[in-house]
């Protein structure tokens, strides 16, 4: 019994220590974001890597999700003669929820893994130590540009993804479900409010921050060898995904609970 309680105590202490390390890492990152030097070239490269190069995967995800959503809403709405709500529900669903969440998750899969693997490999091959000996703070050079780039790029990706998702719904609605094209568009535009769009973009920024922080944190925590880097990559993707879903609930409460 004592052994069991000790085991639970150790687990709780380890968990609290891990949360403390992550919180400290996040605060340290924020501190470095607002203090010079700033590595603008690295920021530009990361905007390209995280933003531009994630566009195909986010766009395709949104396109197919928008199409599937239109079919689902049509089939579900038919049960109580509400097929006409397809355009507005697709638009609201994409902009408020599916665009940011699926976009965030796809970026987590693509970017958090890539950041963790890259920084983890740099740690294992002493490149992080080399940065320090070259008078360069790894937090400023590696973490800050990635966090800023992801926080700026993911809302843009979400906006583009929302548009593509709505377009996917439009294509299915018009070509498959025989909606009138002009009516579909006007229904979409009329039912969307600025708050819907802004809340989705705010979620995107939060999810981008989470993705980059998780990638950098786990990369910096990487153990030795291929196994260590592999474990860091896995932890980055899993923790980023779970935190995105948790943050999505919290932000939805904040934005829409009233």
């Amino acid at each position: 019994m004592t052994h069991f309680l000790a085991m639970i105590g150790r687990w709780v202490l380890n968990m609290l220590a891990a949360i403390g390390r992550l919180a400290w890492f996040t605060l340290d990152t924020v501190r470095h974001i607002v203090t010079p030097p700033f590595y603008l070239r690295e920021l530009g490269q990361q905007l390209l890597q995280i933003g531009w190069l994630s566009l195909p995967v986010v766009g395709m995800t949104a396109f197919f999700t928008g199409g599937a959503l239109a079919l689902q809403i049509y089939a579900g709405g038919a049960r109580f003669n509400a097929e006409a709500v397809v355009p507005s529900i697709v638009a609201i669903g994409m902009v408020r929820e599916l665009g940011p969440v699926l976009g965030g998750l796809m970026v987590a899969a693509r970017v958090a893994s890539s950041i963790a693997a890259e920084i983890g490999t740099m740690k294992v091959t002493e490149q992080i130590d080399a940065l320090v000996t070259l008078s360069t703070n790894p937090m400023k050079y590696l973490t800050v540009p990635r966090v800023i780039a992801a926080t700026l790029a993911v809302p843009v990706l979400v906006a583009v993804g929302d548009s593509i998702g709505i377009f996917g719904g439009y294509l299915v609605g018009v070509n498959r479900l025989d909606f009138n094209a002009a009516a579909y568009m006007s229904n979409t535009v009329n039912f969307l409010e600025a708050g819907d769009i802004l809340s989705g973009l705010a979620k995107g920024a939060a999810f981008g921050f989470i993705v980059a922080i998780m990638g950098c944190y786990w990369g910096m925590q990487s153990g030795r060898g291929a196994q260590g880097v592999g474990a860091a990559t896995k932890s980055a993707v899993v923790s980023a995904s779970v935190l995105i879903l948790a943050a999505n609930y919290v932000l939805t409460e904040v934005f829409f609970s009233t």
């Binding site: 030097p37 590595y39 490999t121 740099m122 091959t125 002493e126 490149q127 130590d129 080399a130 320090v132 000996t133 070259l134 008078s135 360069t136």
Partner: protein, 248 residues
């Protein structure tokens, strides 16, 4: 002068350094030898502040490494890492000129590139190498690029971590000769860790042997073969029997 006084460092229950005392005089080339896992790299990284000792003090010209202003302090150092530690995402010339492109040593791009090309030439690499990426180079070439990066900002103190590990004997000889030439030419203080005895004889003015967490023996390279220290004798002759356990 680099001075380590009673330096201790443990990782968990593993006490790696147990009271290291060592002096490296300005302009001298000190080589630290010792078996694998005896804490040579930890000692070197402690001087740079990459590892914080649990106990003891390390000073460089009287300045405590833990309290020194980091950028100014590190600007005095160059380091060649065991695996090169070149930045994969940057071409060779940007690796060499890394320090010259940022911070208070920043130069215009053209000047930084010219210095990088000159340092590459100094280590025997052609200008065409400058635009390649590290992954396109052989192990020996990567070491040379690492060496060029270490000397790019003309540091006062240069550290070499296992400079010949993984290289064939001829390339090892080339790297050893380069290190010796550069250290003499620049008048730099050098600290090298290795267990390659050909490197020791080529590079060292003084030698320190690290064993069991302490400096077991230290002296000039001329005393290496008649030190009378059984640990050192076993190590330099590569004998399986002696006071050092072969299985660690």
């Amino acid at each position: 002068m680099i001075q380590l006084d009673n330096v201790h460092k443990s990782f968990g229950t593993n006490a790696v350094l147990r009271g290291v005392n060592l002096s490296v005089e300005r302009g001298k080339s000190m080589v630290i030898i010792g078996g694998s896992g005896t804490g040579k790299s930890v000692a070197l990284k402690s001087v740079l502040g990459l590892v914080k000792p649990d106990q003891g003090t390390i000073t460089v010209d009287g300045q405590d490494v833990q309290t020194a202003e980091r950028e100014t302090f590190l600007a005095r150092f160059g380091m060649l890492f065991q695996g090169g530690a070149l930045f994969d995402s940057l071409p060779v010339w940007q690796n060499v000129a890394f320090r010259l492109q940022r911070g208070h040593l920043k130069r215009p791009k053209g000047e930084a590139r010219a210095i990088a090309t000159e340092k590459l030439r100094r280590v025997g690499l052609k200008p065409e190498v400058a635009d390649k990426f590290p992954a396109e180079l052989s192990g020996g070439m990567q070491k040379r690029v690492g060496l060029a990066r270490a000397i790019a900002a003309e540091p006062e103190i240069i550290f070499f971590d296992e400079p010949t590990t993984g290289l064939d004997p001829i390339m090892s000889g080339v790297i050893n000769d380069l290190i010796r030439e550069i250290v003499v030419e620049m008048g730099a203080t050098a600290m090298t860790i290795t267990h390659d005895m050909s490197s020791v004889r080529a590079i060292a003015d003084d030698i320190a042997m690290l064993h069991d967490g302490v400096i077991q023996w230290t002296g000039p390279v001329s005393d290496l073969d008649h030190s009378g220290d059984p640990y050192l004798d076993q190590f330099i002759h590569g004998r399986a029997t002696g006071p050092i356990e072969a299985v660690r």
